[in-house]
Symmetry: C2
Subunit: 305 residues, 2 copies
């Protein structure tokens, strides 16, 4: 699966992932109004607005990027109606040829992780049939429970040619609270990184493993260390743009061949029209603003590689 991602990055020349993390506050009034008129000010109305918003963004950007990353929490907050739109968004993006990284950060004891792996990456047996639930291409995974909580995801990667990104060093301000604590002279996240390398070893797909890592762009000195520590691990890199990281901060996440990282931006792309820089597009043309933001982000990253 990671090879498919790399090929798409080569084709688009953009190691850029669009974070489809819709908040109602991002959605232009005209979309909200239309959905509320049709479905009411309820979960179904919110979900419909999100769908129309997502679709327009995808329609204006699918040819520019290799992948998207819907954050399932943003859909889950609207319950079943929201999750239906999550599923619909995943399918729609895949039909457009985009790879989909489900950002769900799941992780539990073995038998439960197996169910999550089935839910998001695998297939479930029902009687004599084999069914697919969410069917994303990649999934983000939380490592706090250790190997037996991650193994079921790795197994599905192997069996179904899928990929995961395991949280190693996250982009948020308090990520250091536990992740940076020193264990035998090195931070915990480096121990997690060692395990990620180990888990990924028999999951190689070309030069990289299908078991990747989440490495926040907001801590570039740490990215540099991790890049060396895990040369065959692809990084999913959050934190660019709205969270504060610049293109220069991204550079250490890449290998010298220009590969090794896929950079996510959510707000910075999907709500671009709200930034002064893209205000000229106006709310009616929000998706064109998103398209321009993707082009600018790809150029920004290119300038440092």
């Amino acid at each position: 699966m990671i090879q498919q991602l790399i090929q798409k990055i080569q084709k688009t020349k953009a190691p850029v992932c669009i974070g489809l993390d819709p908040m109602l506050s991002y959605i232009p009034e005209h979309i909200l109004k239309a959905s509320f008129r049709e479905f009411g000010e309820n979960l179904a109305g919110a979900a419909d607005a999100i769908w129309n918003y997502n679709r327009e963004i995808v329609d204006h950007t699918w040819d520019l990027v290799p992948c998207v990353k819907p954050q399932i929490a943003m859909y889950e907050q609207f319950g079943i109606e929201g999750l239906k739109i999550y599923e619909k968004t995943v399918r729609y993006c895949q039909e457009k040829g985009l790879l989909v990284i489900g950002d769900a950060k799941r992780g539990d004891i073995g038998s439960t992780s197996a169910a999550y792996a089935t839910a998001h990456l695998g297939k479930v047996k029902v009687g004599d049939s084999v069914c697919t639930a969410f069917g994303t291409d990649f999934l983000t995974v939380n490592p706090y429970l250790g190997t037996d909580g991650v193994k079921p995801f790795v197994d599905v990667c192997k069996e179904q040619d899928k990929g995961i990104f395991v949280l190693v060093k996250t982009s948020n301000p308090s990520s250091g609270e536990f992740q940076d604590r020193l264990v035998e002279g090195k931070p915990l996240y480096e121990h997690v990184a060692d395990k990620v390398v180990e888990w990924g070893r028999d999951c190689m797909d070309g030069a990289y493993s299908n078991v990747g890592a989440v490495v926040g762009a907001t801590y570039p000195e740490m990215s540099a260390v991790l890049r060396k520590q895990m040369p065959n691990t692809y990084f999913l890199v959050p934190g660019y743009g709205a969270q504060g990281a610049t293109a220069l901060d991204l550079k250490p996440c890449f290998n010298e061949d220009g590969f090794g990282a896929i950079v996510n931006s959510s707000r910075g792309i999907i709500a671009a029209y709200k930034q002064e820089k893209y205000a000229k597009f106006g709310p009616e043309h929000f998706a064109e603003a998103s398209r321009q933001a993707v082009i600018d982000m790809a150029a920004d990253i290119s300038s440092v590689l």
Copy 2:
């Protein structure tokens, strides 16, 4: 919220939580067959079977226990159809007077955790309306991202009188891989425990905080240390029964007053009819076997308190 749990524990005299973690392999043939006949061997058929199975177990046990803990992964693996049954199970249990602990182990960066907190514990604003998505009473939370990833859940606990259980020391075999690593002379899980106490401090509800901890029964010597370290934190204790912990292993999770812990059992109760001990009930009377298993578990715990 934790006071409501304690009152229900006092009333039922059973610090027992039924883990509603249905696997298709637990569900008796007659239920599977009926659902497959009506909906087909597909996600809807599986979901219907789970619903009929859950309902019968709840109908036979609701008067014996204070709460249930549906593991959302077991529903998520059947996609939207499965999640509809998760929601329906939550509502059904609440109508029966049971408190519901959503076992979702969510946790992410601040804005995303806020969406998860809204999804599972809170309310979401849509236009001028306020809507509820899953509406469980408690939620399990993963701490790997630190304070800003947990804070939004704590905020909802305060605002809406809800509760959380933060993973401190989990019950699975490899939980020690990261959780037990020594940081400044004490295991990481004790550092997490310190934070849980801190997060819970202004969330007190009587003698206990609405911010609880997940502490696996499978490591009793560690439970004993944590019990002393966090006297006002309620423990959600997995690992009893099928995972190997005995009643004696549970004892250190309780305070001397007999409170402080709620013990979960999933397989041991919901699939009791598959054990030799309860085989006499047969698959047709599986829920009566579950009832007997709850009675036996409550007695087993009582014997050590």
